[in-house]
Symmetry: C2
Subunit: 341 residues, 2 copies
Amino acid sequence: MKMAKKSSEKKITLIDVAIAAGVSAITVSRVINQPEKVSEALREQVQKAIDTLGYIPNQYASSLASAKSRVIGVAIPSLMNIVFTDVLRGIYEVLDAAGYKVLMVDTHYSPLEEEKMIRTLLSQSPEAMIITGGDQTRACQSILQRAHIPIVQMMELLSQPLDMNVGFSHWQAGYDVAIHLLEGGYTRIGFIGARMDPRAQQRLAGFKQALEDAGKYSNDSVWTTDKPSSIGMGVELFKELMASTKGIDAIFCTNDDLALGALFESQRMKINVPRDLALCGFNDIEASQYVNPSLTSVYVGRYDMGVKAAEMVLDRLNGNMINNIADMGYEIKKRQSTGQI
Amino acid sequence: MKMAKKSSEKKITLIDVAIAAGVSAITVSRVINQPEKVSEALREQVQKAIDTLGYIPNQYASSLASAKSRVIGVAIPSLMNIVFTDVLRGIYEVLDAAGYKVLMVDTHYSPLEEEKMIRTLLSQSPEAMIITGGDQTRACQSILQRAHIPIVQMMELLSQPLDMNVGFSHWQAGYDVAIHLLEGGYTRIGFIGARMDPRAQQRLAGFKQALEDAGKYSNDSVWTTDKPSSIGMGVELFKELMASTKGIDAIFCTNDDLALGALFESQRMKINVPRDLALCGFNDIEASQYVNPSLTSVYVGRYDMGVKAAEMVLDRLNGNMINNIADMGYEIKKRQSTGQI
DNA sequence: ATGACAAATGATAGCGCAATCATTTGCCTT
DNA sequence: AAGGCAAATGATTGCGCTATCATTTGTCAT
């Protein structure tokens, strides 16, 4: 690392500033971190040196010396899914405002990849972690607990959270959707799902239970794939389901992308929604409210969930007493696609 | 920081591992960073100690000592806009695969906030930076250049990039859209735009130029707002434009959200698209292709742009010679909403 | 078996900063 | 004016790791 660099290339350190300002290094440090502890005259003098030299503190040295990183690690399954980017936004806004940096990783829906990524995150000495769901590997849960930092598991309610938990019951939401459709008089109710992550599977399980309770469940009306969800995939799954199973009069789609695909394709196939077919999505993305016919969906406070997760983290870091569990709930937005209004 | 912690709480360091494995600290370091330099026997012995102790390296100490951070800073204007999350995904995938961490900040479309955030990023000693557009403050450009790291400005083509640049000409895209509409025989062509960032303004400028060249520009057919773009905002702007200006027979929307809002609202108003009104969006999100009628839009390789930006960074870091400028182009996807097919 | 060289391992120092404790300065009281 | 105390400033040390150079061990040709 010993290179004779041009002076313009040499990194400016605290010491350089201290010399330029004619003070000790620690005083410069104080101007940056605890300005109230430095007299105004000196503070200005030092600040001027900082500005003229273009000094930027080295966060690594600072974190190493202070054992504080101001970093929060966030692990989400995918950046492709608006659900998680909305949650991420909520997390980011709160933590950014509180002066924390967010280090985000994408686990690609894989617990093994998640473990690897969480190791990477932990090597950044985060002061807390926000992760998705509860299907971490044993090893991953173990290293998380040994980190002795606040941990929030979000997106779903867990029976045994590692620490804190914010989410809602996907099972119950699936159950309630089935009830809504049954109450609408629909009897041959299908299901299409893509990227069946643990939460989508719980929605399916709740949905199935409700139909079984009503004696209306049929195995051949459930079409799922592990491939990513998209509008195009909704078109595909919809066509497959309709071609293979006759008499379907309602479909619960694991999310709004699929539902929009199904809706657009049914329009092309001249199937009238909701007269001939009811459609219900999940997540309530903005388009669902505006599309014609408007699409029944399950509203989930994604942004709010991110905010809540971040707030729980901050409360814990600030030593406030809080509930470790937050049920964010959900709401079925009943719209035209299931015969409302 | 001197606390008598339970042994389970004490942080495991390299030294602990070295003692447990009966080797020197530097050997443990090598097992982690340059395993090929350690004999297989020792390597296994050390690895076992690492695993049983659950050792996680302290990245701050490592970065401080080695002056390497493996961090790339990314600054985007908003996490709410799918355009940027798609780009971010492209960046993330490439850099993650190459073993880099991505530190992302959201500048909220504000150069002042951007400057603050970029300072934060730089304090993490990133090995390179990927930022959006070219409207940084002077101070921000100055500290970026003094950082002496590779910098990519993305999303648009700049006349004077700080370093590397990947994007496309928004002006030309706007111009081409206007030409497409003119060629379709539309004569009273309106424009609605939300969140008029520098790129949207360039699209408007190009659009305006084409209409002026054709003698068809009219000031009162342009409706914009600084508020964020959304489908709902598309509905609003569309209603305002249609109510205030009679005879509009085509509308260019700065993005697909607005265009979808306009489309959905025109359906509700029984305005036939494209017979009575042509609509053209921008960005070509997935819904545009599937909605009925399908929506003409301008395809932009968002993910690819992120990939390209990341690749340029990696090439530079690896010392490869590359072009500093990459024009990603765009493509007008002509669909039903402008009378195609 | 010996020397020459490469491979493997270790000892030392320092990265840039903040915690800690020591010292100085300023200000007020009497 | 002297003493006392708080505020302001400084000197020292170490955070956990890796660069660098030194030393040891292993390998091969002769």
